[in-house]
């Protein structure tokens, strides 16, 4: 009975192919093995349906059934479980993708362990292994926001391993900048470096990093908040007020463009309006 329903899906796929042009995701012609090519086509067909829907998962299951060694299908099948909080199933599926194609999916798994679960030790295991596999090249997280050594630096920082954190910050910032200039740097690199320096009491170093962050993008409320906090800590009330008020104005903008944000997770070192209000209250109570 169910199989008759399934026959409707290929028709939908073809309709989507004709009308949307969004069919091709992988170039399946690169596969010389016919089972890989067929799995690839089924994988591409899944893209026509809403992620995590029965239809989408059905095509991915079909892809896996046709060729269980086609790693992208295992990865794609895992994604909705990750986004919807079923980490046990996600890990089981993504582990299979990593096992089949570590060069493509190991860094992704590490990034997700960091981002979705704050599993710093697990993320480091994956990212260190990936770093070795790729010959310590510069690679980026799947969302494009982070050079992977920055993620490793943040993991080490959160685990309290500061020497390792500094080493990875140098690899993720200094080395990238030397090779590709400022444009190659991640959007939040200097902000994270600044917060790390601030935590260790290196206020001049933190200010320098925050000014570099402003050279990258000068409208993050988060940057001005930390500048304000440093000047508050070092007794410069006038500059503290100026920067904290600037942070307040930017974070109050409802376009959402002016503070660090991610639609899936709270990112490290983000600032909330309540943080700025608390800093302003501390400034007010510290006297003229």
């Amino acid at each position: 009975m169910k199989s008759t329903h399934y026959l409707a899906y290929p028709l939908l796929v073809i309709w989507a192919l004709v009308t949307s042009g969004a069919f091709a995701q992988y170039n399946c012609s690169i596969y010389t093995d016919s089972s890989y090519a067929r799995a690839c086509r089924l994988y591409n067909a899944s893209d026509s349906f809403y992620q995590g829907s029965p239809q989408c998962q059905y095509y991915l299951d079909s892809s896996i059934a046709v060729c269980p060694r086609f790693a992208p299908a295992w990865h794609e099948k895992s994604v909705p479980y990750l986004k919807r909080g079923d980490f046990i199933t996600w890990k089981r599926l993504i582990d299979r993708a990593v096992e089949l194609d570590p060069l493509q999916f190991l860094q992704y798994r590490g990034w997700c362990r960091f981002k979705f679960l704050r599993d710093y030790e697990g993320a480091l295991l994956d990212l260190k292994r990936y770093d070795t596999l790729t010959g310590f090249r510069h690679n980026y997280s799947n969302d494009g926001n982070y050079e992977l050594h920055i993620i490793m630096a943040l993991c080490e920082r959160e685990l309290g391993h500061m020497q390792e954190a500094w080493r990875y910050f140098a690899m993720g910032i200094d080395s990238v900048r030397a090779q590709g200039g400022n444009a190659a740097l991640g959007l939040y690199d200097y902000l994270h470096l600044a917060v790390t320096k601030m935590r260790t009491g290196d206020y001049p170093g933190a200010i320098k990093a925050l000014r570099e962050e402003n050279n990258k993008y000068d409208k993050f409320a988060d940057t001005y908040y930390y500048l304000g906090c440093i000047y508050l800590l070092t007794g410069n009330g006038q500059l503290a007020r100026q920067y904290l008020m600037q942070a307040k104005a930017l974070i109050s903008d409802h376009s959402g463009k002016y503070h660090v944000y991610d639609i899936y997770c709270q990112m490290p070192d983000v600032v909330y309006p309540s943080d700025i209000d608390s800093a302003l209250a501390r400034l007010a109570s510290s006297g003229p």
Partner: protein, 165 residues
């Protein structure tokens, strides 16, 4: 002509898989859907549109926008229980009126394997999530929708060390 033949071949290929329902079965629900269970769910909790429940990341999420206050609430309210480590996830639905229901608990250890936490830990966290009221519902194009939300607690030595997402 070649393209038409390719499309036809593709159609036939897919149809051949479709005729093997014993090999691959299709789920009736989307990944992560929480189906009403009369033995555990509050029957007075209603969804506005059961056919269209958003994910928290489909719109601005109230939890993420106010994570600072949520985190303070959990950290201040939770009484640590010495012993276990791992992750506890509470998943639920926020309906279009901002009420919550259909709570589900998932527990895993540090190796991402299913496990069971002491009831004093899992029960306490579930109660804290259930006690949260006045959620802002998901809003899209000026309309309010039901949506899924999850909260994951990372526990080490009985203490909450992080809260996700």
């Amino acid at each position: 002509m070649k393209m038409i033949l390719s499309v036809l071949c593709f159609f036939l290929e897919l149809a051949s898989y479709a005729q093997q329902p014993t090999a691959i079965s299709r789920a009736d629900t989307s990944v992560g859907d929480i189906i009403f269970n009369k033995s555990i769910d509050d029957s007075s909790f209603r969804l506005c549109d059961p056919a269209r429940v958003f994910q928290y990341y489909n719109t601005d999420a109230y939890f993420l926008d106010h994570k600072d206050s949520f985190s303070r609430y959990f950290l201040n309210s939770y009484t640590p229980v010495e012993g276990q480590e791992g992750y506890i996830t509470v998943k639920f639905i926020i309906n279009c009126e901002g009420s919550t229901g259909r709570f589900r608990l998932s527990e895993m250890d540090g190796n991402y394997q299913p496990c069971h936490f002491d009831q004093r830990i899992s029960g306490q966290l579930l109660s804290l999530v259930k006690a949260l009221k006045n959620w802002a519902p998901a809003r899209y194009n000026g309309k309010y929708f039901d949506s899924y939300q999850y909260i994951t607690f990372h526990l080490q030595k009985g203490k909450i060390v992080s809260i996700s997402p």
